[in-house]
Structures are given as structure tokens and as C-alpha cells.
């Protein structure tokens, strides 16, 4: 039952967003040269990436108030297993699977309407891209959750940074240069949906960025994890 409600809630939010888009597209043919189904395709990749983050790494949101404030973290630090792994493993969000389903359907619908032909190779690339998208969400979340070691709960900061991910819903070409720069080089949310989608669109450019997606994801994750380790050391030394 809770699973259904979870799926329903995600569906509700996403449905509202898609509904908005479809209403606007009743009155226009293209948005800055992008068609409705192209935007839907970009959405689909973001959905799937978010779903991965949501299913397996949802506990990252709670590091401040569930682990550091309550002292739960000390319990975890006692054990001889990677503390980050313990925190992550303590919760699996089932309703993320619903999100996966919705994202998959949106992607399938969009690619059908766009007349895309899928080879095995394309599927493999899609798999990698979605995984990379999820990794970027995770890396950003982990990086800013780490501030909790100094400020007890950095959830507001994580929340604020995550609101930037809404920019990734639309083709990045509609934004100003500054925003594109930030979403590419500083908080790489551009690589959660727009850039990876460009691999599958022909003649739209950004191929280099599309191909860079997995590397950006790996780099972000490494950076975030190093920062986490640094924070953990700082925390352990004051906690003694």
C-alpha cells in the first residue's frame, strides 16, 4: 500500500510537470527549436537517473538529522565497515522502482514518437548514461551532505543546491551562458539529462559533452567521496 502511494506521489509530481509542458505545446510548435518529444526524452533520462539515486542512496538526505544530530554516527563509526556504505545500506526506497517504471515509459514513448531506431549498442550507451546521471545526483548530494560534519545538518544547503536540478528539465540552450556554465562546470546537473540525451539526437551538436558524461560522473563521485572522507576525519577528531 505504501509502495503504491509512493509511486502515486512521484507520478503526481511528474505528471503535473509533463501536463504543464503539454499544455504549453498546444500553443507552440517548438521551444527554442526543440520539439515536445525531444524534451520528453530529456525528462525521461533525468527521471531514470533520479530513480537510481532515490532507490539506493536516499539516506544521504538524512545524514544530518538522523546520524550526526542523534549521535547515531558514532555507533556506525564503531563498526569495521565503511561508514558511508552502512548509512546507504540502511534504507532502500521501493517507490523509486515506480519512478524507474515511469521514466522508462516516458523514454519509450518519446523515442517512439521521434522514430528512433535502437541498436544493442544504443541500449548499452543508454544504460551507461542513466547510471552516470544517477551518479551525478549522488555525488552532488554526498558533497553537500558532507557539510553536515561542520554544521550538524546541511539539509537546507542540499535542498537549495538540488533546486538547481530543475534547470536540467529543459534543453540547456534556452538559458543564458552563465547558467549553462554553472550547470556544466560547477554543479554538473547538465550531465544528468540534457547532455546525455544529445548522444541520441542527431545533428544537435554537444556530442563531445554527451560522450564526456560518464567521465564527469566518475570525477564528481571521486571528488565528493574524497570530500566526505575529509569531513569524516574532521568530525572524528572533534568528537573524541
Amino acid at each position: 500500500m505504501d509502495f503504491l502511494i509512493g509511486v502515486l506521489s512521484v507520478f503526481g509530481q511528474q505528471f503535473a510537470a509533463l501536463f504543464f509542458l503539454s499544455i504549453v505545446f498546444r500553443h507552440i510548435e517548438s521551444l527554442n527549436g526543440w520539439g515536445f518529444y525531444e524534451i520528453l526524452f530529456i525528462y525521461g533520462i533525468a527521471f531514470l537517473g533520479r530513480a537510481i539515486h532515490h532507490i539506493f542512496f536516499d539516506n544521504l538526505w538524512t545524514i544530518g538529522w538522523q546520524y550526526i544530530r542523534t549521535g547515531n554516527l558514532d555507533r556506525i563509526l564503531m563498526r569495521p565497515v565503511n561508514p558511508l556504505f552502512q548509512i546507504i545500506a540502511e534504507r532502500v526506497q521501493q517507490d523509486g522502482f515506480g519512478q524507474l517504471l515511469i521514466g522508462g515509459s516516458v523514454l519509450w514513448l518519446a523515442s517512439n514518437e521521434l522514430g528512433m531506431v535502437w541498436s544493442v549498442m544504443d541500449f548499452l550507451v543508454l544504460f551507461v548514461m542513466v547510471l552516470a546521471s544517477g551518479m551525478i545526483y549522488i555525488a552532488v548530494n554526498l558533497f553537500f551532505a558532507t557539510f553536515s560534519f561542520w554544521m550538524i545538518d546541511s539539509l537546507p544547503v542540499v535542498f537549495a543546491v538540488f533546486s538547481l536540478s530543475d534547470f536540467a528539465r529543459y534543453p540547456m540552450t534556452i538559458y543564458s551562458k552563465v547558467i549553462m556554465f554553472v550547470l556544466t562546470y560547477i554543479i554538473p546537473f547538465g550531465f544528468t539529462a540534457f547532455y546525455p540525451a544529445m548522444y541520441f539526437f542527431e545533428g544537435r551538436g554537444f556530442t563531445l559533452f554527451a560522450l564526456a558524461t560518464p567521465f564527469v560522473a566518475a570525477l564528481s563521485l571521486v571528488l565528493a567521496y574524497r570530500f566526505w572522507l575529509y569531513g569524516l576525519r574532521a568530525f572524528a577528531s572533534t568528537g573524541s
Binding site: M1, D2, I5, L8, S9, G12, Q13, F15, A16, F19, F20, I23, V24, R26, H27, I28, L31, N32, M151, I152, D153, P156, V157, F159, A160, S163, L164, D166, F167, R169, Y170, I174, Y175, S176, I179
Partner: protein
Amino acid sequence: MRLRKYIALAVSQIKVDMAYAAWYWASMFSVTMRLFILYFFWQAVYENKTDVSGIALSTMLTYAILATMLDQFRGSAGRELAHLIKHGGVAIELLRPYHLLDKLLAQDLGAKTSTFFRATLPLLVIAMVFIGVDPPTSMEAASAFAVSVVLAVLLATLIDLLVGVLSFYTVNVWGLSVLQEAVITIMSGALVPLTLFPDWFQTVSLYLPFASLVYVPVAIYTGEIAASGIWLSILIQLGWVAAFFIFVRLLFAYAVRKVTVFGG
């Protein structure tokens, strides 16, 4: 050395205070970002057009900004009520010398007044400076807008309370409130003016209370609802407020009787 522990206490209090401030700034930041997304989105929509369904870009942006602001005023009284019911606090509340619904309503309106000054006004200034907000079409529209906003906020709280009262009957209020949220987001006109919707949808929304939450006040401001239609729209809003006010009370009274019976 004895001082150290007190310094630690002081630092921890600073951190607690900072946490409240951090939430304020985080939500300001997130709404500002939403405004920027809206700005770029509508710019792109109007790239090769002067109007969409008869609405000019500056009007559309004004609509989107005001609707986003107004959408921040959705109630939280219902959640409070649901919490009281779920954890049994409602029993004590019922003994106190006030009507619980009125208490929640009053608290909610207080919270929203403070939100208005702390968050909405600064955000409006940001929107005016960076995006641009059209002035109201007339003095009459401006004053009608003010009245209409108050009614819309009241109605939002009442609808929220209704969902809260339902938690006397179901344990899973969360699902209900999620549904409520999605329905309101779509049908209130918080995202786009309802005039952009298909005709059948507009007809349906005429008979539902949701348009009174966002569309009516904002459309009065932007002139989408013409001067001749203003007072009828406000009358309809008033009707919904009255209807929900009475309905929530009746349902609450009925539910409370049932609870007392169970309590033995």
C-alpha cells in the same frame, strides 16, 4: 578549562540558530531559481511569437511570477490536524476552551502573514528587478486582487483542513495530501493560466473550487478576467469559502462524535 564546555554550548546554540536561518535562505534560493527557470522558459516559448492564446510575454511572466508566489501559501493546517489526530493530541485539544478548527485557521493565517513579509515581499522585489512585473491593469483590478488573494489563501487553508479532518477516517493521510497537491497544482492555474487549457477542461474547472486558489486572483491582476467579470469571480470565491467552512465544520463535528463514542 571549565570555560570550554560553556563555549561549546554557545557554539551549538549558534548552530541551531543558523539552521533556522539556513532553511529560510534555502527556500528563498530555491524559489528564486524557479523564477529564473520560468523566465527563460517563457522567453523561449515567445521566441517567434508576440502572443500565446492572446497573452503577451510580459503579461505571461507577470502571471507566472504571481502564481508562483501565491502557490507558496498552500495550507499546512491540515498536516497539523492530521498529526494531532494520529498521535492522540486531539483529545487534549478538544478539552481546551476554543474551537480546534478556528485555532488552526488562526495559526495558519498568522504563519502566512509572516511568510508574506519575510519571503513573498523580498521575492517580489527580486522578480521586479530581474524579470519585471507589470503593474495591475487598473485601480479596481488592484483592490479586487487584494480581496481575491485573501479569499484564495483562506480557501487553501480550508481545503487543507478538510484533508486533515479526513484523517479521522483513514490512517494514510499522506497519500491523500499528495493527491491533493497534484490536483491543486494542475487545476488551480498555478503553472499556466487556465485559458491555455482545452475548452472541456476549462468548463470542468468552472464547477470546481481549485481555480479560485490561484487563477482567479492572478487573472484579475493581469486583466485576463475583465473588469466586468471581477465581482462575479470574487462572489464565486466567497461561495467556495463559505461552503468549505461549513462543510469542514460539519464533518469535524460528526467525526468528533464518533471519536468520543470510541473513547467510551
